[in-house]
């Protein structure tokens, strides 16, 4: 026998052909994450500060002057209303503050609001500040507001690495587990084991084809996010690629584990969902895992997807180096080695 690499390359070639001849696979791997990026990017786009609605009760002395002062502030939307309507809208909640001009000169301006609402308190302070300054108050301490966000701090900047994590995890799991179990169910695995093919070549062909799929996924998603939302990669693209390949290798171990015994696609689907869905929730894909109770954080950090997402965000959003991500890389390595080792012990070819 000759022990050439040819069967391994040929098997990886089959994986790649199989993939690119399946429109559904292409959509779910490449198209779907782009759609999610667009949908979530639009839904949670960061605008200027929200305009708050203030009602000015019309009538009384100085009302036109007050209206002019308040209208000069772009962050406020001021509506002149009758006292009754203003009161009704305050109860309804779409007006946060009602300003009553002084009934006669020397009387106070009255603010009506619900003190239980923090935004109402804030707007009361803002309106009061405007009116006091218009009346001639000067502040002794000069201040300046800096409202431009720090780099990589928008939701979309945070979201895109998480989407890539989700994409790589599901790609590695479906692309390993589903394909293997499908081949087992179709007796293709059995047919292959009746040839002199080395079993390791078959399993390695999945990792080998990943060398093509993973860079494509990274490049397509980041290029798209940059083009549509101006998401920038602050760290090294090489580091992002290397980290992603390593993570995908680690995730594929989980896929192999799901595939090791399952006899039919239904079981494989169940197992893959069981592994991926909790991680999509816990590992900070759509929202930060900081929202979970503190005692869960150490466990969440040990999940492979959390490790990848954390490391990726540090590199992409903060410009960190790959070398500085030792802990997440270690977590990924342990998962990859442990799951692959167990999977190979459990694996059934028949």
């Amino acid at each position: 026998m000759t022990y050439s690499m040819t069967p391994l390359l040929a098997l990886a070639g089959v994986r790649i052909k199989e993939f690119f001849r399946e429109p559904g696979a292409i959509f779910w791997t490449f198209g779907f994450p782009l759609l999610l990026t667009v949908a979530l990017g639009i839904a949670f786009r960061t605008e200027g500060p929200p305009r708050s609605t203030v009602a000015l009760v019309y009538g009384g002395a100085g009302a036109p002057a007050l209206l002019a002062t308040l209208r000069a502030e772009p962050a406020l939307s001021v509506e002149p209303l009758s006292a009754e309507i203003a009161a009704a809208r305050l109860r309804g909640g779409d007006v946060l503050l009602v300003v009553e001009p002084p009934a006669s000169s020397g009387q106070p301006v009255v603010y009506r609001f619900d003190p239980a609402r923090p935004d109402a308190l804030a707007i009361r302070r803002q309106v009061d500040e405007l009116l006091q300054r218009a009346a001639g108050r000067t502040n002794p301490l000069p201040t300046r507001d800096e409202t431009a966000l720090a780099r990589g701090a928008r939701y979309i900047d945070w979201l895109v690495p998480g989407l890539l994590g989700m994409q790589l995890l599901s790609g590695a799991l479906w692309g390993t587990a589903w394909i293997i179990v499908n081949a087992r169910q179709r007796k293709l695995l059995k047919r292959l084991t009746a040839t002199p093919m080395r079993h390791g070549h078959y399993l390695l062909s999945f990792r080998l084809s990943g060398l093509l799929f993973v860079p494509l996924q990274v490049i397509v998603l980041f290029a798209f996010a940059r083009w549509t939302f101006g998401v920038k990669m602050y760290g090294s693209p090489v580091a992002v690629l290397a980290l992603s390949l390593f993570a995908s290798w680690s995730f594929a171990g989980l896929g192999l584990l799901c595939a090791s015994r399952a006899q039919n696609n239904e079981t494989a689907n169940g197992l893959v969902n069981l592994v991926t869905l909790p991680m999509f929730m816990l590992s900070g894909v759509f929202f930060s895992s900081a929202r979970f109770p503190t005692f869960l954080h150490p466990f969440i950090r040990l999940l492979p997807l959390s490790a990848y997402n954390d490391a990726l965000r540090h590199i992409v959003n903060d410009g960190a180096s790959l070398a500085s991500q030792g802990v997440p890389l270690g977590v990924l390595a342990v998962w990859g080695v442990a799951t692959s080792a167990i999977a190979l012990r459990l694996f059934r070819w028949g």
């Binding site: 026998m1 040929a10 089959v14 052909k17 199989e18 399946e22 293709l188 059995k190 009746a194 002199p196």
Partner: protein
């Protein structure tokens, strides 16, 4: 082991949790022979063949293929045999040629057949660039056989090669197998079609309930079970089978199942001797035949005489 033996199995047992699939089976296949395992569905044919192919471990018994057991020799043996499973779904979106080229990489390049020649031989040249999903049942089966042949094996295993094929594709595949036989390849096939076994196999082993219940050339088996011809008979008034047992040339009498219309069948070697005697007996007993069929006996009749059931019972 003698050099002319390709496969030797003795006292083979395969037990699953609740079923005994193979229950003490012995057989020997000679090199260059086409050997058929014939039996109804569930008789243990596939299990036996998959043990020969090294795909299943036996519970007990010994299996030697080309003089070697599977333990420790798997790699060598797999390179020397070719396999067509009962049903394999290949990659639907790979072409015929891509599939063959992939399998070819698993074998020694110096020994494996040329893809082009094999496509030609299996009449798949026109379909070489067609995706597997677009192939007809017969074309798929020819591809499956081609994959079994790509490594130029010494033994080719075919598990139910023509099940589910239309008559034309069956005949085309029979021709292919006949060609392989002529070239001196050892072929082991399973089937529940008696015509397939009769036509292709040098020797046939009849399997039932995990045991080999008879073995020989198709002609031997048919002759041993009573005769080459069967005369199926029903009369009015109805005469008992014993009325014909002493007729010249009658070797056995078999009751026909009532499901098949009742009556009985006389096993004879020479119908031209037995039939005149039969007509004389009918005249003598003043009976008329309401049904009279004279036909060649088949392996199905052999199976029926051995087990009381037909091969087609599902």
């Amino acid at each position: 082991m003698q050099p002319h033996v390709a496969i030797r199995i003795s006292n083979l047992v395969k037990r699953y949790a609740d079923v005994v699939a193979v229950n003490g089976l012995d057989l020997e296949v000679g090199l260059g022979e086409c050997y058929g395992l014939l039996g109804p569905n569930g008789a243990g044919k596939t299990t036996t063949v998959e043990i020969m192919e090294g795909l299943l471990p036996p519970t007990a018994g010994t299996v030697e293929v080309l003089g070697q057991t599977w333990t420790g020799n798997g790699e060598d043996l797999r390179a020397r045999i070719g396999v067509t499973l009962q049903e394999t779904k290949l990659w639907e979106k790979l072409t015929v040629e891509e599939t063959l080229r992939l399998f070819r990489t698993f074998y020694d390049d110096r020994r494996a057949l040329k893809v082009k020649d094999l496509l030609e031989e299996m009449q798949l040249t026109e379909k070489r660039a067609t995706w597997v999903q677009k192939l007809s049942g017969g074309q798929r089966q020819r591809l499956a056989v081609a994959l079994g042949l790509i490594g130029d094996p010494e033994i080719l295993f075919l598990d139910e090669p023509t099940t589910g094929l239309d008559p034309q594709s069956r005949r085309a595949l029979w021709d292919t197998i006949a060609t392989l036989k002529k070239r001196g390849k050892t072929v082991v096939l399973t089937t529940h079609y008696m015509d397939e076994a009769e036509r292709l196999c040098d020797r046939v082993g009849i399997v039932d309930h995990g045991k080999l219940i008879a073995q020989g050339t198709p002609a031997e088996l048919i002759h041993q079970s009573g005769g080459f011809h069967l005369v199926e008979l029903q009369t009015a008034p109805e005469l008992p089978p014993e009325a014909f047992s002493d007729l010249v040339g009658v070797r056995a009498i078999r009751q026909r199942e009532s499901a098949l219309g009742g009556g009985f069948a006389l096993a004879v070697d020479e119908p031209h001797v037995a039939l005149p005697a039969l007509f004389a007996r009918l005249a003598e007993r003043q009976a008329k035949p309401t049904r009279l069929v004279s036909r060649a006996a088949t392996l199905d009749d052999v199976f029926l005489s051995l087990t009381g059931r037909t091969l087609r019972e599902d």
